[in-house]
């Protein structure tokens, strides 16, 4: 806990010192409270995800995100008194150099860019509370990498653009800063007029004898309709699977802002097929089929309510999964007197 806060505080002090000659740093992120009931076991999680962004001129950017969360559950799963524990993780602390319109160089700790769920859908963006089963393929336990990365938009045209990412990470076992030894990349094509992005990821995991991991993704938001379709497929020697998710706001178009339009229905289907997991894999030990459905309600002032029900089918036992979540998304300047 102290390490994460110390790093964020140090970063903020550095940003403050250089603020006079650069741009204003911002503090963003989310506060959330999650509750779940899975297979008869209740759990509650208060969460704080602070994000600090400190730009230094037009080319340099320092970004950091901490993840502080509690886990409150019954001592023996479904019985016994409730006990709680807190954990803190540094999700990323990276220095970005925006070299030119097509290249950004990043060093430090960054979110592993395998497919897009890990980078693009933090809890205040994700449509459902639970991450997909295959989320851990390519991202493993920490979902972060320590090393270097290059990324950017290689080609930008009015009708399409091509984005890319390539990275290398070293193995780190330091508490709260874990990462795997790996190298990989991702490439995607985005068609803004159609609201479609498709891409593919590859990673060479350089531990435990080495293994190849691959994935593809699709993201589709047809511009006139408030529909959001996301899907990913991921394959590793330990297992493979896919998920596809649809979310629809009850409005005739995306610009309407009335109380029905703030309601969003969500559904997700996923299948996981077990492979040959190693000791480093955190994948399910059996094949799993699961569907989830739920609703989000977007209240004013960046508050969101979410509730969902899911049913999981596996040879280890079928179970019902109930989730609810209250999320507050915040964004304000990290220094006083800036906000208007």
């Amino acid at each position: 806990m102290n390490r994460v806060w110390g790093m964020l505080l140090g970063l903020m002090c550095t940003a403050t010192g250089l603020w006079a000659q650069s741009d204003v740093p911002i503090l963003s992120g989310a506060v959330a409270f999650q509750g779940s009931r899975s297979g008869g076991a209740n759990a509650f999680q208060p969460i704080l995800f602070p994000v600090l962004v400190a730009p230094f001129g037009d080319h340099w950017l320092v970004e950091a995100r901490g993840e502080i969360q509690g886990f409150i559950a019954r001592q023996d799963g479904t019985q016994g008194p409730y006990t709680g524990q807190f954990s803190d993780v540094l999700a990323y602390l990276q220095v970005d150099y925006i070299a030119n319109p097509h290249l950004t160089v990043t060093v430090g700790r960054f979110l592993t860019p395998f497919n897009i769920y890990n980078e693009r859908f933090p809890l205040w963006i994700a449509n459902l509370e639970d991450t997909p089963i295959t989320y851990v393929i390519g991202t493993r336990t920490s979902a972060s990498s320590n090393g270097a990365m290059v990324r950017g938009v290689a080609v930008a045209r009015p009708k399409w653009n091509l984005n890319y990412t390539a990275y290398a990470s070293v193995a780190t076992t330091t508490e709260n800063l874990q990462s795997g030894r790996a190298a990989g990349g991702r490439a995607g094509i985005f068609l803004p007029q159609d609201g479609v992005e498709v891409g593919a990821s590859y990673q060479r995991f350089l531990q435990n004898g080495g293994s190849n991991i691959a994935g593809t993704y699709v993201n589709w938001q047809p511009p006139p309709i408030p529909l959001d379709v996301r899907a990913e497929y991921a394959h590793s020697p330990g297992g493979q699977g896919y998920w596809i998710e649809g979310a629809y706001r009850f409005a005739s178009n995306r610009d309407i802002n009335t109380w029905p339009s703030r309601l969003q229905a969500v559904a997700r289907v996923q299948q996981y097929f077990k492979g040959h997991p190693t000791s480093l894999d955190v994948l399910p030990s059996t094949n799993v089929n699961q569907f989830d459905c739920g609703a989000n309600y977007y209240l004013p002032h960046n508050i969101r309510l979410n509730g969902s029900y899911g049913r999981q089918y596996s040879s280890a036992g079928n179970s019902n999964i109930w989730n609810f979540e209250l999320t507050y998304r915040f964004l304000f300047p990290a220094l006083p007197g800036e906000h208007k």
Binding site: R151, N161, A168
Partner: protein
């Protein structure tokens, strides 16, 4: 060790290639882009870019100062792969 060396070498080659490609494709891009943007109806175009890119996950923010918007856009340029043109047009839309 050899694999790590190859990975680092690969990243450097990729970075170099993209840089060379960018210079070849866009000589004097900064000045041209600024002039081009100044001549366009940046607000309308910026709104379209916002909807096409940012609108995939966000609604327009209630009130942000221009310097806050700039920080947010730099963050999203790195994280969500905004192009340089998109960043400039959205900046003009959110902080005219």
């Amino acid at each position: 060790m050899k694999t790590r060396f190859m990975a680092i070498l690969g990243i450097l080659v990729l970075a170099f290639s993209v840089t060379v490609f960018a210079r070849h494709q866009n000589p004097g891009r900064g000045q041209k882009t600024t002039k081009a943007i100044a001549n366009k109806n940046a607000a309308g175009s910026g709104e379209q870019r916002f909807q096409a890119n940012c609108g995939r996950c966000h609604v327009p923010p209630d009130s942000l100062s221009p310097r806050e918007v700039k920080a947010v856009l730099q963050h999203m340029r790195v994280r969500a792969m905004l192009s340089a043109d998109d960043e400039q047009l959205i900046l003009q839309y959110l902080a005219p």
